[in-house]
């Protein structure tokens, strides 16, 4: 295993460990969460915790992006070279079909994710509009950040690490 691969896998597994910790914590602590832990309109975490959330999030995003820049792209470049006609006609056709199938899967995943995000934002808007007893997502998250501060910090940090790693892409040359 190359150093690049080891660092990439290490970063991803750290994010997975943080998310698993949050998941386990939610499952274990959920029955113990009393209604008293959250007011009718929960406030955001106060100083200095909000600074910890923001700085950890920014640091995780930058670290994820840095790791994305450093990641080993040899396998991807090889696949792209193959698809550019350097393989035989049959192999190129098989690769094209495989690429189309995978591209469809990625598009489907992105479409589902974006639809889910749009739905959640629509719910947020609607809940803010109608008010109680409907809680907007902001209140749920703020409730969680008050009741499970460290778990929420870990989850938001891991989320921003993944956003930086996957979406803040490196600018690099692709063979044409």
């Amino acid at each position: 295993m190359t150093a690049r691969k080891a660092v990439s896998v290490g970063g991803l597994l750290t994010a997975a460990a943080l998310l698993s910790l949050c998941g386990v914590s939610i499952v274990i602590a959920n029955p113990l969460l009393g209604v008293g832990a959250c007011d009718t309109t929960p406030k955001a975490v106060g100083w200095p915790l909000w600074a910890a959330f923001v700085s950890a999030g920014v640091a995780a995003f930058c670290f994820g992006s840095l790791l994305g820049h450093w990641r080993d792209f040899v396998s991807e470049l090889k696949e792209e070279e193959e698809s550019l006609g350097r393989a035989t006609a049959d192999a190129a056709e098989r690769i094209d079909e495989r690429h189309r199938r995978r591209a469809r899967t990625v598009r489907l995943f992105l479409a589902v994710t974006l639809t889910l995000l749009t739905g959640l934002l629509a719910y947020e808007t609607w809940a803010l509009w109608v008010g109680p007893p409907w809680w907007p997502i902001t209140d749920f998250v703020r409730c969680a950040s008050n009741a499970f501060t460290w778990q929420t910090l870990f989850a938001s940090t891991a989320l921003l690490f993944l956003a930086g790693h996957w979406l803040w892409h490196p600018v690099r040359r692709v063979p044409t």
Partner: protein, 62 residues
């Protein structure tokens, strides 16, 4: 809480697939998403912007 668990499970599945692809030398989830992000820069930047704005809205209250 169920929604939070669902998000965590989906992210964990993506990370595990990414690690598996990385170890077996296949194109990883990260590379696939990055390829999409390179092609649609405005959209991927928009997602990052929305995500950042949401997290700041949730936690930042000086």
């Amino acid at each position: 809480m169920s929604l939070a668990l669902l998000v965590i499970v989906v992210l964990l599945a993506l990370i595990l697939l990414d690690v598996r692809a990385e170890l077996t030398g296949r194109r990883t989830i990260g590379q696939r998403i990055q390829r999409w992000a390179r092609r649609y820069v405005v959209m991927s930047s928009g997602i990052v912007l929305v995500l950042g704005a949401l997290l700041a809205h949730f936690f930042w209250q000086p």
